[in-house]
């Protein structure tokens, strides 16, 4: 599974990356987590509000912090 965290480096974006790592470790799934900081790449995903999360090319969240249970459902598909 390929997870991308979209964010230009604000406090919230770093938090999202942390939560992703935690949930991946918890679920024990095979996943790569990549932080996308280039604003053009972020816009390419159609995300106008950071932070955003992309799972296997699909935007699952933008503009807020995710809850852990939400992430669990997205990552265990």
């Amino acid at each position: 599974m390929e997870i991308k965290v979209l964010g230009t480096g604000c406090a919230k974006c770093k938090k999202v990356e942390e939560i992703c790592k935690e949930v991946v470790a918890e679920l024990g799934v095979e996943a790569t987590i990549e932080k996308v900081e280039d604003i053009r790449a972020i816009m390419g995903y159609g995300v106008m509000r950071t932070p955003g999360i992309v799972v296997d090319g699909e935007v699952v969240l933008s503009g807020r912090l995710p809850k852990k249970e939400e992430l669990r459902t997205w990552l265990s598909k």
Binding site: T8, C10, K12, M43, G44, G46, M48, R49, T50, V59
Partner: protein, 342 residues
């Protein structure tokens, strides 16, 4: 079973509102009772009045914050940056500016998203003048500022602040649009391709909306309560110890330079509404005129160095200077008008 849960949720909400009203409208007697009877302090002494102010204002403002942010959180769940972008696309200059400033109030937005939002708006063909109206109104007329004003100044000053704040946002954006400053936007901005917009869910059930209201209370009040307490503590100390009319000689309405001076102090000062408004409320009590105080608040809240640094990623220097200059000019005008009226 599920229905029971929903009914429960509404009952809890209703109960919470009743308790809120009972506490809120009895704060003054409660504060007086604590100071005069429970602790038995001497009425009129500096320390007594400082503590009375503090014990009354802190719970009052915190109660207002919880209630209004909860409400705004629910209202915001109906709006999104994506919908706003769609609404503004293709609007003409003046109409666009008015709509942008109004939408700036209700669209959920945090300053760290200013750049992606700017790019998204430009890509949709929204004129930069309209985009600026949005970017000026969003921080200036935010819910925290409105609540603090309502709590400490009453509804009249709040209305004046919101009205003139919107006017500054509308006309600054309109002027930036008329000056045709597009060439001072970084060139790469116009090459940005926005992918198909992620549609964040705005069709939610009511229980989800109530939940999102509560989420924003936890997030915002959790972050700013400390500034509220500190701001009111400083305000309370000044209320009790600084003599009346202390500021009148320096910042009173007789001095034309007080407004530009207030802005010169206000722009580099970066604080949030929660910390600055209690202090300003005491400045007024000590003789600073309303126009000067309004101008000071606006410049602290709406124009800030960190914001300018963020915008530097997408704007060239002349446009940044025009932005700061035009908004400051608008704020100065507001200050003059109110010093002249009152």
């Amino acid at each position: 079973m599920k229905e029971n849960k929903i009914i429960n949720r509404w009952t809890v909400l209703l109960g919470a509102i009743v308790v809120w009203i009972l506490v809120y409208f009895n704060l003054q007697p409660i504060a007086d009772w604590i100071i005069d009877d429970l602790v038995g302090m001497k009425e009129g002494a500096h320390l007594t009045e400082t503590l009375r102010f503090f014990i009354f204002e802190v719970p009052k403002v915190l109660l207002l914050l919880v209630l209004i942010i909860y409400g705004v959180g629910i209202v915001r769940s109906f709006f999104s940056a994506e919908k706003t972008r769609q609404a503004l696309a293709g609007k003409s200059l003046f109409t666009g500016n008015v709509m942008a400033a109004l939408l700036g109030i209700v669209t959920p937005f945090c300053s760290c998203s200013a750049i992606p939002l700017f790019l998204g708006f430009v890509e949709a063909g929204i004129p930069i003048g309209v985009t600026f109206s949005f970017l000026i109104a969003a921080p200036m007329v935010n819910e925290v500022a409105v609540i603090m004003l309502l709590g400490l100044f009453g509804w009249k000053v709040t209305l004046i602040y919101v009205g003139t704040g919107l006017a500054v946002a509308i006309f600054s954006g309109w002027l930036i649009g008329r000056l045709k400053l597009e060439r001072y936007v970084m060139d790469w901005v116009f090459d940005v391709k926005v992918g198909e917009l992620a549609s964040e869910e705005t069709k939610l059930s009511w229980s989800k909306r109530l939940e999102s209201g509560w989420e924003s209370v936890k997030e915002i009040v959790g972050k700013i309560w400390i500034y509220v307490v500190l701001g009111i503590a400083v305000g309370a100390a000044a209320h009790g110890y600084v003599p009346e009319d202390f500021m009148a000689t320096l910042m009173g309405k007789g001095h034309w330079y007080s407004v530009p001076l207030a802005i010169l102090i206000g722009v580099p000062l970066y604080s949030n509404a929660a910390g600055i408004i209690p202090i300003v409320s005491v400045l007024i009590e000590k003789g600073v005129s309303l126009g000067t105080a309004l101008a000071f608040m606006m410049s602290v809240i709406a124009l800030s160095l960190p914001e300018v640094i963020i915008l530097k990623k997408v704007l060239k220097m002349p446009l940044i200077l025009a932005f700061v200059g035009i908004v400051s000019g608008g704020i100065i005008l507001v200050g003059f008008i109110f010093n002249w009226i009152y």
